[in-house]
Symmetry: C3
Subunit: 263 residues, 3 copies
């Protein structure tokens, strides 16, 4: 499916994106999901997550403020999504910073069929078993060839892996795709990583080519970031403009401005 | 009480609005409560909700991200509010999307004396027993005469019912009041439904004519939405302007610009 | 350390600020921490708080929406921070409004070594045993000499006490420092109190003179508020500008515009 067709399909079908996510950036995730044209719902009660995910086009699991109740909820919702063939998109926020997060991510990888996992270099590096270091929830460091780490991890896990950074890298184990959209201001506000995951989920909900859908999502979000940075000069104004610009982005503009390259 | 007098009274008395609400839009609810002139407090610990609600002019129960702890907390706070004759305002976010939410709302209706319940057509339709459909937390569909559904539900339950929409409908079982303020941009950001409930609670805290207070609140919030849309062109800027415009709205302007009609 | 050196050090070292905080203003705390130049992380799971705080330059405990799980988490993280000599900054939101909050604060004071406690006049007054009254989470009232109450409480507790207000008062028991930066608009939005605490933690992370670091933080945040108010006319725009202005504030400007006075 073409980039423009994917964005057009989100806006036409308004897929419901079920989030089990952290309490820091949850509002940003809800709003960015609306801006791309999808519909957010947040729900974590064990009594309802299986039923709720049945309405969804994709399920986002984000461990930014993981706790045991939420962990149980994620496993329950994830299994229900798997049974219903609803794609599961995972954001391993802070994996590597604590063994609790790292261990839970490994459990998710073992017990669920995950469509896409998106993290920064440190998070993906830790989970890939590379020589990586993570301090908090900001980007950590990883030593080695980032393309290779991403591709090997995707190949071994069967998950489409997205390693975010100045250049985003996407691999499904065979293809390696790079996306050069985006702006450094996106690292100056809280939540852009989480929002990117919500946008990826919105694209994956309408296109099961998870690598292409992820690349399209990152391009769309990155273009919005570029445009927002061009018209603002501080993080508060930038964040507001980021929502505006993603909302205004047309399918044709996405196709024109995306800097996606398959290696 | 006149519209202008109600808004003047909120700004003079700054009633405390105790919220037990979802983690998605809670910050928006806090800020919109400040903008209308009241004072927000959020508290859900079983150890304190009864004491906290004793300070309040109204209690908001919003089930947007309901879980069992919060459900217990809502029942406890609601009963304390009932004992103290403090009005309880309920927002049945996502009722109909899962049986957990629908069942809990029916329990709230049975066990508490609720002053006002505000939902979209799908949520109110489901709870009224009409032919309704709800997918997530966006507006669902309902078949039938919306005025009649709202009025009958209010009559049978003894609750003032607000069905939000392009035209909002308020009924206490006898009166039917419509409010034609608002703007489609309000549906393009997360949280306007929840914020409307906080504004209703602020008005009900100063005027026990719950139908008139609800209508006044919806007019005030809708006027702010109209004005915000007139000066912005995207959801990020619109949201910021919505707070500004409600904050600037004077009692006299509310009286002039409200499009409230009793049928 | 000079004011300018402290801000320079935050921006160079980007200390990690571990927050266990309320769900109302958590996003604001994350963003303001980034704006001052530090790095936020939020984490409350009992399984990881001890490990997470080990990465941190300071720990923020904010009881704005305290519940029993969070209370346990705060004690665990606080003890770990104490063992590692990582400063603990406490915001007693709503202390005095319910005995649950007051009692928990007294337990924190007894069981932890707290570096700085920052509250409004009502909260600090209640905890100091003064004649104070608190209704919700807005500023309560206290009778008596505010300088004396702050100094005596600091002296008796061994904690650097910050009583926020039109003029902020800081005391470590010996010194009394006043800070006259800030703007009334800061009371018109939710979260400025919580944000101030995050900024204090960022300064304390780079300077163990807790009284001077707290004063510097309040000056920086207050200057940003003054500048934001000068360029906006409503709470929505003000909040966005507050982030921008703190982000733009240079060490040299902080030194020039700070209105800090030691009595």
């Amino acid at each position: 499916m073409k980039l423009s067709a994917m964005l057009g399909s989100i806006r036409q079908n308004k897929p419901l994106i079920h989030h089990i996510t952290n309490y820091v950036t949850v509002n940003d995730c809800a709003n960015i999901t609306l801006c791309i044209g999808a519909s957010p719902v947040m729900s974590h009660a064990l009594e309802e997550v299986e039923e709720m995910v049945g309405h969804a086009g994709a399920l986002v699991l984000n461990i930014g403020t993981l706790d045991p109740y939420q962990a149980t909820s994620m496993l329950l919702a994830g299994q229900a999504a798997n049974n219903l063939d609803i794609p599961v998109i995972v954001d391993p926020v802070g994996a590597g910073a604590t063994s609790y997060r790292t261990d839970f991510m490994q459990r998710l990888i073992e017990e669920l069929e995950i469509s896409v996992m998106k993290g920064n270099a440190g998070e993906i590096g830790v989970l890939a078993g590379a020589d990586a270091h993570v301090r908090g929830v900001d980007s950590g460091d990883v030593n080695g060839d980032l393309h290779r780490i991403t591709q090997n991890f995707a190949h071994d896990s069967g998950i489409t892996i997205v390693m975010s950074g100045a250049t985003d890298i996407v691999s499904n184990g065979r293809q390696i795709i790079t996306i050069k959209n985006g702006h450094p201001m996106m690292g100056r506000i809280s939540g852009t990583g989480c929002m990117a995951t919500s946008v990826i989920a919105s694209f994956v909900a309408v296109s099961r080519n998870t690598a292409e859908a992820s690349a399209a999502a990152l391009a769309a979000f990155g273009i919005a970031g570029e445009r927002a940075a061009a018209v603002t000069s501080g993080p508060g104004a930038f964040k507001s403009a980021l929502f505006d610009q993603l909302s205004h982005l047309t399918p044709a503009e996405l196709a024109t401005d995306a800097k996606i390259r398959e290696l």
